[in-house]
Symmetry: C2
Subunit: 592 residues, 2 copies
């Protein structure tokens, strides 16, 4: 394993492409996020990831989590690493000072998360789920639920999100967990949840579950769901730990990947819980948590591409096999495989996706900062609208290309990639969950195309599309920008085509949702690569000392436009083909 946190590349996105220094200056909570402070944070998070987390990654995969009569043991070193993480103050980094946080911008949570995921995805989940729990309580919780915050912010307690039940996954409207009022403002909650990441472990003294359940008088479906806090141990009004609550872990799952992160069946047996938000309005509160998590997942997917790329690149530079048309190592019997165009095609695909995804997620992180800032209503609305559009794309698109890109990470190593020791196959297995958890790609496609774009009559696209159009207008004559403009034009045209067809046939939306999401993903990533290319070109023209670095960025952008963006040509055809050929076979006549 050769993973190094790509601090230089992160700084390129932050400083050269997305101008985080100005962005932070404009945020009230940005005043502490000086360039020096940000660099120090990146460097420290890199040390922690490389020195503490990465060495635990492969054993975590191998040993996994153990379950014994309701108790969960995480892999060797995970608990100690978590305590070190807490001692270093990481959980509180981007929480408000009012709740015990360090008051830095929220984007730094997302930005530092990449290193945690690349080095140890399974471990990172123990640390990051809590952040969403904090945000949800902070946004929607009543006064008396705020007592859970300080320990969560500090990392002394951990959080979870409990949505799924065995018969209710993508369709949360079906869920059955029940909540009965106790009369004192608290509730008794009973039911069983599955696929709960970090549902039980011994890293922390308490675990705070954020749980969806139904009140007795609840309407059927998603409009009858309420949100509750259910602690593993009850919490006294002074914040001290009380009695054990009616919460237990029934079993844990054997999974394809992220073995080091425990996935629990959680049973709530008349557990005491506390309402968050209004009765029956749980889904809209939960979306605070879900949207936060979806952006994190886009980074899980990106983190695996990056780590897989680095390992594959190191191998490709060392492994001698076959000759280049012009011999490179004349004194050796073969050249390093990086000379072979097909190997470079795979490496560049990994590189273009990892760095392109980083630009997209960092851009989203900026919008998250703005939605939480003291800025104008208009600014915040603009940022929220962009996040509404970009969150399903970042989650769906990056998680899908992560499957392909980590596959290349195995392929470049050939047979050695299939062997566990190389670490490459673990990235494939670990990233496999990213197209599933926090909503499958199909659900992201429905959310993007149905719930967001078509329901708003396309309005949700406006702020970001206008931004791209303005960029194109400012850079007329550039070849990459011209390609971007054509792709954006096509995207808007297809949006109209689909809207017209969906009016007549509701199946059209789900039929083309994923293809449409991917088309948008390729186009929007092209926007960021075009920006990066212009920055690189300018920097080279200005006579940068680091010319190789910027040349590589420019070359990767050109590769993206000539080898990856053309995938929209196929997507255009399959989108236009629509629902018809998907619906011909009767449900029961599908057979083998």
């Amino acid at each position: 394993m050769t993973y190094k946190v790509p601090v230089r590349d992160m700084q390129f996105v932050m400083n050269d492409v997305l101008d985080f220094p100005s962005h932070y200056q404009n945020l009230p909570e940005g005043e502490n996020a000086t360039p020096d402070m940000v660099d120090a944070i990146l460097e420290e998070s890199a040390k922690f990831a490389e020195n503490v987390l990465e060495p635990l990654n492969q054993t975590g995969d191998l040993v996994g989590c153990q379950f014994d009569e309701g108790e969960v043991t995480t892999p060797p070193g995970f608990k100690e690493a978590y305590h070190q993480y807490v001692e270093n103050g990481w959980p509180a980094l981007a929480a408000s000072e009012s709740i015990g946080g360090q008051g830095l911008p929220r984007s730094l949570n997302l930005i530092t998360n990449e290193a945690l995921v690349s080095s140890n995805h399974a471990w990172s989940l123990y640390a990051t789920v809590s952040v969403g729990a904090v945000e949800t309580i902070l946004a929607h919780g009543a006064e008396d639920t705020l007592r859970f915050l300080p320990k969560l912010v500090e990392g002394a307690w951990a959080g979870t999100m409990c949505l799924t039940e065995s018969h209710s996954g993508s369709d949360l409207g079906l869920l059955r967990t029940k909540a009965k009022p106790n009369g004192d403002g608290s509730y008794k909650i009973s039911g069983s949840k599955v696929f709960i990441s970090g549902g039980e472990h011994d890293h922390t003294d308490n675990i705070i579950h954020i749980v969806l359940a139904r009140l007795p008088d609840a309407p059927a479906g998603v409009k009858g769901i309420s949100l509750f806090i259910i602690p593993k141990f009850k919490v006294n009004s002074d914040g001290s730990l009380g009695d054990k609550n009616g919460v237990s872990c029934g079993s844990i799952e054997e999974k394809m990947g992220i073995h080091g992160n425990v996935t629990c069946v959680m049973n709530f047996d008349e557990a005491e819980g506390y309402l968050i938000g209004a009765p029956h309005k749980g889904m809209s509160c939960m979306f605070t948590f879900i949207n936060e998590s979806r952006l994190l997942v886009s980074q899980h997917a990106q983190g695996h591409i990056e780590a897989s790329f680095q390992n594959a690149l190191a191998y490709a530079q060392e492994r001698l096999q076959m000759r280049a048309p012009v011999r490179k190592l004349k004194d050796k019997s073969a050249d390093p495989i990086i000379v072979h165009p097909d190997v470079r095609r795979m490496l560049l695909t990994q590189k273009a996706f990892s760095e392109g995804a980083r630009m997209l997620t960092y851009y989203c992180a900026q919008q998250v900062d703005i939605t939480h800032s003291q800025g104008s209503v208009e600014e915040k609305h603009n940022a929220e609208t962009q996040l509404a559009l970009l969150t399903p794309i970042a989650k769906g698109f990056i998680s899908e290309v992560s499957q392909e890109a980590t596959g290349y990470g195995v392929q470049i190593l050939g047979g050695h990639g299939f062997i566990c020791e190389s670490g490459q196959e673990q990235h494939c297995r670990d990233t496999r969950i990213t197209t599933i958890y926090e909503g499958t790609t199909g659900i992201q496609g429905l959310d993007l195309l149905g719930r967001k774009i078509l329901l708003s009559g396309g309005e949700v696209m406006q702020p970001f599309v206008q931004k791209i159009q303005a960029f194109c207008a400012q850079n007329v004559g550039n070849n990459l920008v011209a390609q971007l403009e054509r792709s954006l034009y096509k995207l808007l045209e297809l949006t109209d085509v689909i809207a017209g067809k969906a009016d007549k046939n509701p199946d059209e939306v789900n039929a083309v949702g994923v293809d449409y999401l991917m088309f948008a993903g390729y186009t929007f990533m092209a926007y960021f690569w075009a920006r990066a290319a212009l920055v690189a070109e300018n920097t080279i023209n200005e006579g940068s000392e680091d010319i190789d670095f910027y040349q590589a960025k420019l070359a990767t952008a050109k590769f993206y436009f000539s080898k990856l963006l053309p995938r929209t040509a196929t997507l255009e055809l399959t989108i236009k083909a629509g629902a018809e050929d998907l619906m011909r076979i009767d449900d029961d006549a599908f057979s083998f």
Copy 2:
């Protein structure tokens, strides 16, 4: 797990599409392969796969192989299943009667292999590698090596292929294993081989290794490689077992998948071996084995798509989640997920690839029959030429789409697909090796485009392309056929474009080899789907009783043409983009 061997679908390909009954009638060794006999073979192999192999598949994955001081133990039940397989006479099915076989056509080996792979890929490898060893000895071995055949044919001994060394994978020219003549016609062979499937186990009394090594006076590179038989136990002239040979298993690998199949480091320490074929001509002899194996791998990849599809389909028909635009189950709170277009998109992709791949591999199997038949030189040359073209495509294309298709098998089950119990993630892990072993997809692309098409000036394409053109000419006016014709035209046009560019820049071949292979794969699979569609249409028009079955075939063909064949649009663009944007970054400037 719901796997059933799709006998009806196999019969559709054999009887309705590819007219195996006539094909077998025209083969001298086909006289025993009457339709009744073929049906009985399919039914028996289905029983063995479903009742014996499938129940061992998940435990095989979980337990894997054990290594202890040179001895290998395969998973519980594997050895017993192998003995049952031998007792039933399966290894001898398609071997000539002259060497103790049953004399049936070789295609039946390939056809019955699908069920073995779908039910238990890891196990199947113990049985099938031996067939390639038999073919290789039969084709190239001298008189005194024929003594190894009867036991191999019977299955009492197993075979392996030993090519790769730790520093020599895709580039076999680098291999170092040495062979010294003993003066009595035998050789002493020393060296170490890696990634040897079934290199050591206790299923059989002896293991016959087919090994590449260098003679003392050998030229460097691939032109200095010779081929040897090295038995684990020496064999006396009467065929009885002699002394232990200098062959040992040094260690076994921990892999991403096919855990039940042991992957060995094999050490040869002055092991006694016997030359196959002429000195220094080992690579061309080995290609008998390699080509045989590549076709088998295309079936490994197809077998996983089929099994994953069946399991996903059963889930999609049962799992209730969300509503169809028009409610299907009015008395339930949700509809089965097969009503949702995006789920159908994934299922149909699996179905179209599995059945399309079956047509392609069965067609190749017919050509294998012809190359071994007593037919005219011209007929055999035609079949050999078609196999030269189609083998890298079947291997490369089907193994690549198997990654995507088995991914959908996980995705359709959502979180449940990520859990080991569903069996779906094992198909992803097991099929991952298919793009690697017997030559990576990059190597298949080079073989197809460089070694076959460009070197022959396109001649290797003629017999198969003419066949497609004749089919198109006979079916003018059919919409699918018109699309096929355009795609074929484009393929030929791109071949010329690449030939022109490759003359000036040798990097072009490797730069577009994989994309070209995929373009050819999509086009040739379209040919088989067009044939299947016409057959289905005719059968429906004739008033078949099994109308649902044929309607489903027609619908799947239409899906293939509207949703999968359009991928050639992107491939055309990336092929035309060529090498330029792959080669911009200096090898050492690639960094992170």
